[in-house]
């Protein structure tokens, strides 16, 4: 072929915008993403933000209102002056430190649950969608799993083992797995009929290579979106479990158990519930806004699919 023919061919090329550029232009992604980045930064930098150890208490600084100055006893027994930005609870613990450290728990629970549910859901969904003999058995099992209420599974697991981060993450992830499986399966069922998969079959490509090389990469966009929604509901569910007292042990501060402890004197000291609740609401909102933005840019068809 000569050079002229090339230029004719090249003229037909349209410059498509990359997904990344579209993401950065979307306002939902911008807002949700920056709030989340800020929250992650706060959680990581917790010790540098004027906090004290969240388990420290002082009998002399009980039930302080937000902004008041009091004192707190360190582990060595020294008493140091401390300004309680968000007040203190009935043990004299610093709500501000507890809320900031609690962000670590909430965010890691959200992330871990999403990763765990996606990992299991993708494997099961790929299997059910592509290997037809596996479909019936696997999907009936998933239907059964879906019939059990999530909170019940969590309570049962915490009773069986003891309350720890691992237990809580597993307990929240289990009810999410069937939902991811169904999504992946439905995607696989439509992608496996695409001519490019048939082309791979007619080339003699081995089954596992078709599953992981051709089908899986084309399910990624809707899965990222689904992952954010799982993340948001996991953060919320962790707080509910901790509020009910079946989540993490009480010596680890989480937004759920701070609210649970503050609930008793909510009428006199609403700040005990207000601040962790505010952080929880902002976090879940940010994750959901980010998810909506991701959906609009990566997978516009999903709104109808889920």
């Amino acid at each position: 072929m000569d050079a002229d023919a090339f230029s004719v061919e090249a003229a037909g090329v349209r410059q498509h915008e990359s997904a990344w550029r579209r993401l950065r232009r979307n306002w939902s992604v911008r807002i949700g993403g920056s709030v989340l980045v800020l929250l992650v930064a706060i959680a990581l930098a917790a010790p540098l933000l004027g906090t004290v150890d969240p388990t420290l208490f002082d009998a002399g600084s009980r039930d302080l209102r937000p902004g008041m100055t009091g004192q707190i006893t360190t582990l060595d027994g020294d008493t140091i002056p401390h300004r309680f930005l968000m007040g203190s609870d009935s043990f004299g613990r610093d709500i501000y430190s507890r809320v900031i450290y609690g962000a670590r728990v909430s965010l890691s629970v959200g992330l871990l649950v999403a990763l765990l549910a996606l990992a299991f859901g993708i494997s099961a969904g790929l299997g059910a969608g592509y290997l037809r003999w596996l479909d019936g058995v696997l999907m009936r099992f998933m239907d059964g799993l879906m019939a059990i209420p999530g909170i019940l599974v969590a309570i049962a697991l915490v009773a069986l083992w003891r309350g720890s981060l691992t237990t809580v993450v597993i307990a929240i992830a289990i009810p999410e797995i069937p939902r991811v499986t169904r999504l992946v399966r439905s995607l696989v069922l439509s992608i496996r009929e695409e001519p490019y998969v048939e082309a791979a079959v007619s080339l003699g490509t081995p089954t596992w290579k078709i599953m992981f090389g051709h089908i899986l990469p084309n399910t990624i966009a809707p899965l990222i979106v689904q992952g954010t929604y799982i993340c948001a509901s996991a953060i919320l569910l962790e707080s509910i479990l901790s509020f009910l007292g079946v989540g993490l042990p009480p010596d680890i501060p989480t937004w759920g158990n701070i609210m649970a402890e503050g609930r008793v004197q909510f009428n006199e000291y609403p700040h005990n519930v207000f601040f962790p609740g505010l952080f929880l609401a902002v976090t879940v909102l940010a994750v959901n806004i980010l998810g909506d933005g991701l959906r609009d840019t990566l997978d516009p068809k999903m709104a109808r699919r889920v």
Binding site: V13, P195, S202, L203, T205, N218
Partner: protein
């Protein structure tokens, strides 16, 4: 043409069961997509397969490629029955026969770059394991198909329909096959690009001595490209003849009707033509008519057509018709 045929299709049948029921699947009917089709293909020959939508052209192609497991019949490719091969033997044979799909948009994986799309067949079959060599081969294939080798770093969505179809052709050529099924390979392209791609297919056929099974519904394209043409109606082969013979002297009433429907690009001739529009609709392949499947719409049908399934007979050397009335 007396040499051993490259491909022989003998009494191919593909019946799809129609099932009902949730827990216990019950077969309530069968769709006879392909019913008793036989033909053969010589090396270097192009056989056109024409017929209206839903007549089983594509299913025939898919059966030959073993993308569909035929209900009955033999597909003998290079002397071996494909249905009897084990997995390994079939993978080896798959390297010898390839496919070009209709839709240049969905036949390329949107997540893969052109370079890895064309390189994949070589990777799968362990040809040119060295990355560098493979890249050179991909560049060579791209320029054979009239594309700039720089395109290998592009994604399919960055290319036009004609360019993508060329990528599909390059992928099909990657393993030096003997035989390519072109499943409506040009019908999704606009007319000027169609001409380019057809010329490319012709050049490649001469260069590599390829055989094509050219599935199409555009009769003028078929006449231009094919040596022989087979006409299908409702899962059956009704007529098979050399291209010129079929277009000049069609025998089967369905072929005649099909050819009459082709407009002539000359208004004075077109004005004087008498169009006999075929009556009725295509019957459902789930419940095909008895005897000759074409009898309800046939202008020359007689009573016996309702009862007797017509056998294919050789009217002239190489001209087979499945109609006893011509």
């Amino acid at each position: 043409m007396s040499a051993a045929p490259l491909l022989q299709v003998k009494n191919l049948k593909m019946h799809f069961p129609v099932t009902e029921g949730v827990m216990v699947r019950k077969v309530v009917a069968t769709v006879k997509a392909v019913d008793d089709v036989s033909f053969s293909l010589q090396p270097g020959e192009t056989l056109g397969l024409v017929g209206e939508s839903g007549c089983g052209k594509t299913t025939t192609g898919r059966c030959i490629l073993q993308l569909e497991k035929p209900t009955a019949g033999e597909i003998i490719f290079e002397g071996e029955d494909l249905a009897k091969l084990d997995r390994k033997g079939l993978v080896a044979k798959r390297a010898r026969m390839q496919v070009i799909f209709q839709d240049p948009y969905s036949s390329l994986n949107p997540r893969m770059k052109v370079g890895s799309i064309i390189g994949e067949p070589m990777k799968v079959h362990g040809i040119l394991p060295d990355r560098k060599q493979r890249q050179e081969r991909v560049a060579e294939l791209l320029s054979v198909c009239g594309l700039n080798p720089k395109f290998m770093d592009r994604y399919p969505h960055e290319m036009s329909g004609g360019q993508r179809q060329r990528v599909g052709i390059a992928r099909a050529l990657a393993l030096n096959p003997q035989f390519i099924v072109c499943d409506e390979a040009v019908s999704a392209l606009d007319v000027s690009i169609q001409a380019q791609v057809i010329n490319l297919l012709e050049d490649l056929r001469d260069k590599f001595n390829l055989s094509y099974l050219f599935i199409a519904h555009d009769l003028s394209v078929v006449r231009h490209l094919c040596h022989r043409v087979a006409v299908m109606y409702l899962g059956k082969l009704v007529e098979l003849a050399d291209s010129d013979e079929l277009f000049e002297h069609p025998k089967h009433p369905y072929t005649k009707a099909l050819l009459e429907a082709v407009p002539i690009p000359d208004p004075t001739i077109e004005k004087g033509r008498v169009h006999r529009i075929m009556q009725g609709e295509v019957p459902s392949p789930m419940n095909p008519p008895s005897g000759c499947v074409f009898h309800p719409r046939c202008p020359i049908a007689v009573d016996s057509c309702k009862r007797e399934v017509p056998q294919s007979r050789e009217l002239r050397p190489g001209h087979w018709v499945a109609c006893p009335r011509v």
